[in-house]
């Protein structure tokens, strides 16, 4: 009788131990699967997005954008220390190659279907609807909501030597301050002008001429241009320009926004399907 009770207790004890062991193994396994599912895939997607964004900045020779919020003044300032060069090398060839490489080669190695949809090098500040577009002989910034822009300043480093002449638009004090400065090939300041300009009117350009014949020279226009209000267009004729220290100050709007590429990164496979724009920076 006593032996039977003891054996029963022992059996229950051992079965309980086996149950605990099974539970521990199950929990360990599910925890590991959860870590894989919640950490690995988003990190991978974020890293691919980062790689594409960085490569586009390298293609354009642009420094990563910086931002600064001033809550007391209620402003957001976006800065680009380096904004590539004008004229630009023919980018379409390299962007096609890059998109093809991502789709065919990188996808294969990563065992995912990765592609770039509508791959362009345009950079957009969401929320503020400002887009920087890089053309062959001009760089254009479209401010679709120009009322949000408070001021803009840009410095243009040129390969011109001696300035011959310059012009600046007539000021219109009720609008945004546009500041343009130009440096010659030795880094000396040859032109600096700040004007308040209406975004809705066709204003004359800030123009700098390096020779009496008219060439080489550069123009910076702000206002109604290319069929759109709030357009800043930098054009060069016979000069090489490196736009630097671009600072755009906006009236702060609530919420988080992104500086992003106008390109959709599509990733599918491994039971996921994502289409995201490539974010360069959150502001």
């Amino acid at each position: 009788m006593r032996r039977g009770i003891l054996l029963s207790i022992m059996t229950i004890f051992l079965l309980f131990a086996v149950f605990l062991l099974s539970l521990a193994v199950f929990q360990n396994q599910s925890s590991s699967e959860l870590r894989q599912a919640t950490l690995s895939l988003p990190t991978k997607i974020a890293s691919i997005e980062h790689f594409v964004g960085q490569d586009v900045l390298w293609m354009l020779n642009i420094s990563a954008p910086d931002s600064e919020k001033n809550l007391s003044a209620s402003t957001l300032t976006i800065k680009f220390a380096n904004l590539g060069s004008i004229p630009l090398q023919n980018l379409s060839n390299i962007t096609d190659q890059y998109a093809s490489f991502i789709k065919n080669n990188y996808s294969y190695f990563e065992r995912l279907n990765i592609s770039l949809i509508n791959f362009t090098t345009n950079i957009t500040l969401s929320g503020y609807n400002a887009t920087i577009s890089f053309g062959q002989n001009e760089t254009v910034i479209f401010f679709t909501q120009p009322e949000l822009l408070r001021s803009l300043s840009i410095m243009l480093l040129t390969n011109g030597t001696k300035m011959w002449n310059n012009t600046a638009p007539s000021p219109d004090p009720s609008y945004q301050n546009i500041n343009v400065s130009v440096l010659n090939s030795s880094g000396s300041l040859v032109f600096n002008s700040m004007r308040s300009l209406s975004p809705n009117e066709t204003n004359s350009a800030f123009s700098v001429f390096f020779n009496q014949s008219g060439l080489p020279h550069l123009h910076v226009e702000y206002g109604f241009a290319l069929g759109q209000s709030g357009t800043l267009k930098i054009t060069t004729y016979g000069l090489r320009i490196s736009p630097q220290d671009l600072k755009m100050t906006f009236s702060l709007i609530p919420g988080e926004n992104q500086i992003k590429l106008d390109t959709v990164l599509s990733i599918s496979g491994a039971s996921i399907s994502r289409n995201d724009t490539v974010t360069l920076r959150r502001v």
């Binding site: 032996r3 003891l6 022992m10 004890f13 051992l14 131990a17 605990l20 062991l21 521990a24 929990q27 360990n28 925890s31 590991s32 870590r35 894989q36 950490l39 690995s40 990190t43 991978k44 890293s47 980062h50 790689f51 594409v52 960085q54 490569d55 586009v56 390298w58 293609m59 090398q89 390299i94 190659q97 890059y98 490489f101 991502i102 080669n105 990188y106 190695f109 990563e110």
Partner: protein
Amino acid sequence: MKKGFIFTIDILLSLLVALGFFSGIIIFMSEPSTPQFSTTDLHQNTLSALISLEANDTLRDAFSQNLTPRIMEFLNNATASNLCFNLTFLNDTFKIEQNHVKANCSRQNQIAIARRPLYAGERIRMVTLEAWYK
């Protein structure tokens, strides 16, 4: 030999085995559920190291300049001491252009690999970083 003596030893031994088994399970359960050397963590570390190597345009410029000292300084001193790394630069036809292995590291079987496409020198290339625990 009394009848009761055998039963007592028998039960005593069973009890000891059961207690040992039970203690073992309790110890097993009290340990962290994730292994110390997780493959997920290894992959995360590999990715982080690859992204860190972009600082000062190191990855891009390594194709046009000799940046071996800077890369080795990073691999040897800026990465976790229990991790080994093997950084490989591949050209546009996937042939190895450069290879950098962290000092005092020999290849292990379990590795994590992070790859990135790379625009450098007006060509599309690839960089791979392999990592494993020492």
